[in-house]
């Protein structure tokens, strides 16, 4: 846990308390701070006698060799990048737990059949380059390398310290910090026996039930869109409502409607980014672009919400500006599609058994109840590794279920539990 906070010295975010570690994190993918923590991660792994490689997406793989050189390593992976107003646990915990596992194995002199690896996946958050888990996606050969390399950073980060003046591509950002590796980014070049990931829950379920470990069996589906509304710029003071094609007013109606439609289908719909142009107090905005994130337990539910919103948004756009025969138009672009995922039974079993073993010494009557199976609302790199190799995840509680927020917090005990469970899960899997 002290290592966890040590790794947070690069990219301090917003301070929310007086304690030395009471800050959030702002470590956007491939920023200067991300470079610093990467350098530290590599040095740490080399000091632990691991072999380190970097691929074309900047993914960093550190492997502690096993007895059999031919058997692929079992990996522990997550990410070191954060949201612009992120916290100290989302992703970071998963990589740091990996480091803990290797240290413990070294201390114990534990031998494994295959190697044990730790991987830092690039831009998991999708906060700077708008595809989450993009680099595990390329590794799984689900996302073409060129598409990922050409991704442009989102406009909102342009005001943050990461950014060059023109929006940067992922490839140039990789080059700039020296992390465009030469190993192909693919499960063929860097094979894995399995992938395990420990992560904060990001929801209030474990914490409110006083449970200690979530055995993650599935991940909900989601789609990310970029929408553009085209209306007409005009004067705010002289243009009657019925003479307007106000793109921002159309947006406001769409956002209100999106929540209603999603809720009616047991799904979520969220807008995180909005930009209105030209951006002047006394000009009705003629152009608005915004992001839309739709999620639901099943892939079909997300598709249904999308379908209904396409119809509804068209109707809203058509009404705004109809009076002058110049209705607004709305255009959709799909940025990312992540269907629902079920994790691998073998990995789930390993996690389940390990979790029970770790909580067995708790001073409660029914230790079984401290562990539950759970679905992940968020995407993780494990989503993509699961397309190619057996995968599952471990959740630990976090305060108020809060994440993507500076005050994100898990106790040192809970973090240690996560590390113990993943250590046992990896060893169990290795022995299968």
């Amino acid at each position: 846990a002290s290592d966890l906070h040590h790794s947070c010295q690069w990219g301090y975010g917003i301070r929310w308390g007086d304690g030395p570690t009471d800050t959030g994190m702002q470590r956007l993918a491939l920023s200067k701070d991300d470079k610093s923590v990467r350098d530290w991660f590599i040095q740490t792994m080399k000091d632990l006698k691991c072999n380190v490689t970097v691929d074309e997406m900047g993914n960093i793989f550190a492997v502690r060799p096993g007895r059999e050189a031919d058997v692929p390593a079992t990996f522990i992976g997550s990410h070191l990048d954060t949201q612009p107003t992120g916290g100290r646990y989302d992703g970071i915990l998963g990589v740091l737990a990996g480091i803990e596992v290797i240290k413990t194995m070294n201390d114990m002199g534990l031998e494994t059949e295959g190697g044990v690896g730790v991987v830092d996946w690039t831009n998991e958050e999708g906060a700077r380059f708008p595809i989450s888990m993009v680099s595990s996606g390329v590794w799984a050969e689900c996302i073409p390398l060129a598409h990922a390399h050409n991704l442009k950073e989102v406009p909102t980060v342009a005001s943050l310290p990461t950014a060059a003046s023109a929006p940067e591509t992922m490839k140039s950002a990789l080059q700039k910090i020296g992390y465009l590796g030469d190993i192909p980014c693919s499960y063929k070049s860097t094979p894995m026996a399995a992938h395990f990931e420990v992560h904060i829950e990001q929801g209030p379920y474990l914490v409110s039930a006083n449970q200690r470990v979530g055995v993650v069996t599935a991940v909900q589906a989601y789609r990310w869109f970029r929408l553009n509304i085209i209306g007409r710029d005009t004067h705010t003071g002289t243009t009657a409502f019925e003479h307007r094609a106000d793109a921002l007013y159309a947006f406001a109606q769409m956002m209100v409607r999106a929540r209603e439609v999603a809720a009616s289908k047991g799904c979520l719909a969220s807008v995180g980014i909005v930009e209105a142009k030209p951006g002047s107090v006394n000009t009705v905005p003629g152009q608005v672009s915004f992001s839309l994130d739709i999620r639901g337990p099943e892939t079909e539910q997300v598709a249904e919400v999308e379908k209904e919103l396409r119809t509804e948004f068209d109707a809203i756009a058509a009404a705004e500006g109809a009076g002058i025969g110049k209705p607004c138009r709305v255009e959709w672009t799909l940025d990312f599609d992540s269907p629902a995922v079920k994790f691998h039974e073998d990995c789930i079993d390993c996690v389940q058994q390990s979790a029970q073993a770790v909580v067995a010494d708790a001073s409660v009557a029914d230790t079984k109840s401290l562990v539950r199976t759970i679905m992940s609302g968020a995407g993780h790199d494990s989503v993509f590794t699961s397309k190619r190799v057996p995968t599952s995840m471990i959740f630990i509680p976090c305060k108020d279920g809060l994440s993507h927020h500076p005050e994100e917090f898990s106790t040192a005990d809970d973090c240690a539990t996560g590390a113990s469970v993943i250590l046992q899960a990896v060893v169990r899997y290795d022995r299968k």
Copy 2:
């Protein structure tokens, strides 16, 4: 009219047609392009034998002397700055009409009692520095000089060519282009006998009634606010709607409600600028700031809309996040307050008589009907001059009533009519 387009060579905006003058304008106040057109304006006026002075707000006064050195000049004024996606007529027409008047007087060898002046007021649009007519406001001693000098440019122009990396203040922007004059900005230091302004109508009333001149008797009231909504950043994928304090969702509801409330009271309410933070696809925005522009024929109506919206916005904010005991909060800042204005009877009479004289030769039976009295929906520098000296305005038709848009257009004939009416009005006023 050719001079008008000549002056538009600095700050071309969006091209909308094939003709050489078929572009909009993007000439934000105190930008490089604004400096160029100012330099040109000063040189032009000096060539016309005018005395030119620049005050502390960068207002440029050019005076053609009259017979009596002690009698203050009668001024023709407007502005050369534009919206980010502005056109070629809003403001520019008024200054260029002034140049035409001086040229014509020189050509005719016309002597006046007092001088005749042309003034270019700085940042009338309020598009870069968010108080419209701020420099005529300082001149009228209605806005303190220090307040105006400390105004910061709006965040949205930060992406435009004008901007330095950190938001610039008006004073530093004046210094940077060499237009921080040393004459105090005050009606006491630069007195005027009267102020006349010709402007495009910016509404579709004259154009749809086939009328040629609007005699402006009044200007509606308006208030500009900056609002801040404070909610809580959180994950879009793992946070149920009832666990959110989504500042952007609160904004969307507020914008929808603002139109309903304003419409119910015969007023307008508009949002031109919105910024959501942190600006990431998968983070629910915890902070939103936006501009609100409320307008109505009477000052009291605007106050009523404001009052009702304060109550409604509080209720919307309180509901969003109530489920987690962390409701959104909304804060209002008044940036600018422009009460309703009635222009001066003497000036209105001069404009009325001049307009009738100019349209008298039209080949229609009832030339009287080509002229009407009208209220301005937009603010103009004449609002502030009217606080200190007799003032009125002349409107000419513009295509579709469109302004703050690249396709803003008035015919050369209509522009010429405007210039003729203001010439006669100035001479009439001088002879009173």
